[in-house]
Symmetry: C2
């Protein structure tokens, strides 16, 4: 349970990467966008259908090569209700294709509200005696600013249903240090958050030794990533910041335990926009994405060994 | 601009309160739920339609008495795509009824992702040259754990479109102190966050002296609320925790500046569930909500004067 499902998929494919499905319109080849605009007019519906088609095409190309996908909620919410419908369909398509699905929602709230988010993304929702699964994810990103009240409702569902969460610890953006690097009793805030949340998952480690409470730690801060890896052996890391944001294979290698365990590295733009570098019109986006995903896998394999 | 619109509505109604639209199904009278289940079966659609009808009934009853409503996203996401559709319709209905609309989404992400959230809730989204307004809110709750990268995209839209944000500073839940009360250089984390975010809004104060960067500070921690009020005269506070969570009128009074300015107090359960205390079957939910909202207004008016 916990992160076993993800770890097994990574081992089977020898590929510790996740593709972020962050479909900005400008990432989508114009032949797809034009077709939907022609069919549905200049509408949010047309945008959302283009997003879903692009996602499906990417997933078709990446299945059997990349173990996981990570839809970023903002880029679906942005297209309103049709966008959320595209998100829901993307999550179900990803599951059907065998991907481990990380919902990058960064939700964080208290008590019964955290419970509502947990039900929506990792659990089931009862309506008049029947159960529904609105947005099926295997794992979810969570913000822990509100303390353990905001984490426990997720954990309870993780235990019961074999799901997992990634708590924001040290994010990859330039200003992440403004709060996260400040010192509390000789330790930075991000370590304090990791310690707090790791303690909540203790005793729930799966067979690979990782608890269901993972952490987000950016490739753009390799030293901090290394310290986190050393201090939190039971924490599975989701590592953004590789590629377009500047993180290298060497940088992300610090996130891994022995045998290439315990981390998964995200790339979004590098895969989604690979077609923009081939000099063609985007009709090769699937092949370009697959080539870029292979290159990323091999790049990281040059710095860690998965066995 | 900034919080002027909210402050003016509060002054006009002499009522510094906001009703949280957190529609758990058990808060909705059974005659509404049963009607929709009969029409649409046991479905997420039926649940979402019940939510929207209940919200509309509440807003009809509260218009002209309460200046603002605050839909809590989790309780709509929970009902999947139909739930998000109910959220969207609720936001538009609220605007048409003249409420100031605070989206309680607690979003927080970096750079272009924060921009996508800002566009979705406070701005407009371009699709092939046309602009859409997917989820129209006047203000949004935001999580600042990621630093100023995560705040600036919101601020830019606030300046341009007269919108505002409330950054999570000191939340009302029991475990909020686990991180928020830890000390950084002699100041608690929550003060550090408030200082960081307040600085981003400086120079953008409206005519009542408040910048577009407000803060969430819970009624359940009245001493901290008082200190925040003293230290951050330009910050508008959104105060949860009144009523069901234990905060009193005296507690929330600390959030206000002279003349009853600079704060708005939330109640959800106390208003939405008022009908459960009348001993009737819920057909009086509108009257019960209005009575509870009047009682809340008068309770707070006993501790502050708005002039």
């Amino acid at each position: 349970m916990s992160f076993d499902v993800l770890q097994e998929k990574i081992l089977a494919l020898k590929n510790p990467t996740v593709v972020g499905l962050d479909p900005r319109l400008e990432y989508i080849p114009s032949f797809i966008r034009a077709r939907w605009t022609k069919a549905l007019g200049t509408t949010l519906n047309a945008a959302a259908e283009a997003v879903f088609e692009f996602n499906c095409g990417l997933m078709d190309a990446l299945a059997g090569l990349v173990p996981a996908v990570k839809p970023q909620s903002a880029f679906y919410e942005r297209f309103g209700v049709p966008g959320i419908s595209a998100l829901e369909k993307t999550l179900r398509y990803a599951r059907d294709k065998g991907f481990y699905v990380i919902g990058d929602m960064k939700r964080g709230d208290i008590g019964s509200t955290a419970q509502a988010y947990a039900d929506a993304y990792l659990g089931t929702v009862p309506v008049e005696g029947e159960e529904f699964e609105p947005f099926p994810c295997d794992a979810l990103t969570v913000n822990a600013y509100l303390g353990s009240d905001g984490i426990r409702p997720f954990l309870e569902i993780c235990s019961r249903r074999g799901k997992a969460i990634f708590v924001l610890v040290k994010t990859s953006n330039p200003s992440s240090g403004e709060l996260q690097d400040l010192m509390i009793d000789g330790r930075p805030v991000y370590e304090t958050v990791c310690r707090l949340t790791e303690s909540l998952g203790l005793g729930q480690e799966g067979k690979h030794g990782f608890s269901p409470v993972g952490a987000v730690a950016g490739a753009t801060y390799p030293e901090q990533l290394q310290r986190l890896r050393e201090q939190f052996p039971n924490t599975f890391f989701l590592v953004p910041g590789y590629g377009a944001q500047g993180g290298t294979a060497k940088d992300v290698s610090h996130a891994f335990s022995a045998g290439g365990r315990g981390a998964v590295v995200n790339s979004s733009r590098g895969i989604l926009c690979a077609w923009q570098k081939t000099g063609r019109d985007g009709r090769d986006y699937q092949e370009a994405a697959r080539m870029a995903a292979l290159a990323m896998r091999d790049d990281i394999a040059g710095c860690i060994s998965i066995d």
